[in-house]
Symmetry: C2
Subunit: 144 residues, 2 copies
DNA sequence: TTAGTTGCAAACAATTTGCACGTTG
DNA sequence: CAACGTGCAAATTGTTTGCAACTAA
């Protein structure tokens, strides 16, 4: 999910925010790093390009982009959050308890579930996310 | 979701763990406290009954019960975890961003999604949880 | 020019851990 | 008695914040 810079600039500008190089960099990395990087990973990767960027800026940017609905944060592991560009086809995140890899599972049932939720609860659903944990096909066999 | 003490005792004993009064107390409270209490709430409630219990014990017990598959922990808000007895009919947790209340939404699509996941990924799915955030029917009208 | 942004270090909140003592089987 | 459980305080982890300096519109 890569997001065009112009779209972002407008989204930010319209709420009085600035599209600074650091913000664009973080967003760019979010589109380029495969999987679902956490704040630390984004920070390290960003520092290769902009050596003076701070972890605080990464967190502040992620918080901002989340508020704008441009990125989503999920707690895939136990402790810290992982981020991804929003707007992709709805999917379940499956985390393997042994090897740790995250598999995205796309399925139309998710979209249906979301609309059911909207309809039955008469709620304005802003975020929707499903997450599963277990042992992936590979690891379930070799689990000591 | 109340869980019988005998079941627990056996589950714990079989893995070399002891069914201590403190552990049974916490489990009992998990069944009795409505909604999805967090560790702090459980701790305060437990202290009314067993004044010497510590927060560390609550956390250690929750971790243990989670490993045994007896309770589930979810990150409903942003920061800390909420807990509930496991094994209930699968449901979505909807959190209202304004009033904060949590609504459980039961729907058969969830069960179907879980089996699809199992089947397509050939994975051993241990936990499955869906979570939504937004504005509930009441709050969406009055959102200033 | 001025409101918005950033780095740095300190603050925070939730959770975990080391250790000495208590408890259970 | 041997292994497990617990309280306490200290440590850790992930994230947020105050503030002075900086920068984009």
């Amino acid at each position: 999910m890569v997001i065009s810079n112009r779209l972002i600039k407008n989204a930010l500008k319209s709420s009085g925010r600035r599209a600074t190089p650091k913000r664009l960099l973080i967003l760019d990395l979010l589109g380029k790093i495969p999987g679902h990087p956490d704040a630390e990973t984004l920070f390290l990767r960003a520092r290769n390009i902009d050596p003076h960027i701070s972890l605080a800026t990464v967190y502040r940017t992620l918080a901002l982009l989340k508020k704008e609905g441009i990125v989503e944060g999920h707690r895939l592991g136990e402790s810290h959050a992982h981020y991804e560009a929003a707007g992709d086809f709805p999917h379940v995140h499956f985390t393997c308890l042994k090897c740790g890899r995250v598999i995205e599972f796309k399925n139309p049932l998710l979209g249906r579930l979301k609309s059911e939720l909207r309809r039955k609860l008469k709620a304005d659903v802003r975020e929707f996310h499903a997450h599963a944990r277990g042992f992936c096909a590979r690891c379930r066999k070799v689990r000591h």
